[in-house]
Amino acid sequence: MNIVGVAACTAGIAHTYIAKEKLENAARKRGHKIHMETQGVIGVEDALSSGEIETADVVILATDVSISGKERFEGKKVVEVPTETVVMSPNKLIEKIEELV
């Protein structure tokens, strides 16, 4: 499965980056391709390309705040969860998404 997504937490200091790491590790462990963008106090990092978004089977928005560029995902299958869910149960989330897609 091709997964793209964005992580963004309230303060943009810590959860954002932990969520990215956990989700990427969990997805790769199960053989998926994944790229997570982060939006935090340091701005946008690891930005998604339009090509990546186009070929993605699913978009994961691990967000506690509104993000910029949400319109990029129009028409895609989008799963929205709080960063806390990703931080606490990344494997369960990936398994659930596998059922969904």
């Binding site: 303060a11 954002t16 980056y17 932990i18 790491e21 956990k22 590790n25 982060t38 106090v41």
Partner: protein, 149 residues
């Protein structure tokens, strides 16, 4: 600039004694204040507690990442403490906390981008189970630093 520049011996402890969350935050803030990261300790703790009220900063596996954007912060930094004992903390896995990363971030961040990026790197590593395992087994400040270098 590499990650070493945010790993400051003066604000890292491998055997901090704290009776509870408040005590741990107070002691870690004192370290930050002494090392020149925080001007007003009480103000900083208030801002950290404000963030605590918004949701869990326990990330599971005995690790907590309290933080706050605070005008009391004069220099971006991070205090790290391994505790002598487990303390109670809001987490979703029902476990307590044995390692605390207290992030000090100011309100004007234009000039602190490089340091903030390094803080983000440290946070990201905490999302890696192997890193957390090593942290829980680390016995000295030097060992803690090595995990991130």
């Amino acid at each position: 600039m590499d990650i070493k520049s945010v790993l400051d011996d003066r604000v890292i402890r491998s055997d901090l004694f704290a009776v509870n969350k408040e005590d741990a935050l107070k002691k870690m803030t004192e370290m930050l204040q002494k090392a020149g990261y925080v001007d007003d300790a009480a103000g900083f703790i208030a801002d950290v507690m404000q963030r605590e009220s918004l949701g869990c900063t326990g990330i599971g596996n005995y690790v907590a990442i309290p933080h706050g954007k605070s005008p009391s912060v004069s220099k971006v930094g991070i205090a790290i403490a391994k505790l002598q004992n487990e303390i109670e903390w809001e987490t979703n896995d029902g476990k307590g906390v044995r390692v605390i990363f207290l992030f000090a971030v100011g309100t004007d961040n234009e000039n602190a981008m490089q340091h903030l990026k390094l803080l983000a790197q440290v946070a990201g590593k905490l999302g890696n189970d192997e890193v957390v395992e090593k942290l829980l087994n680390a016995g000295s400040v030097e060992e803690i630093k090595t995990i991130f270098e």
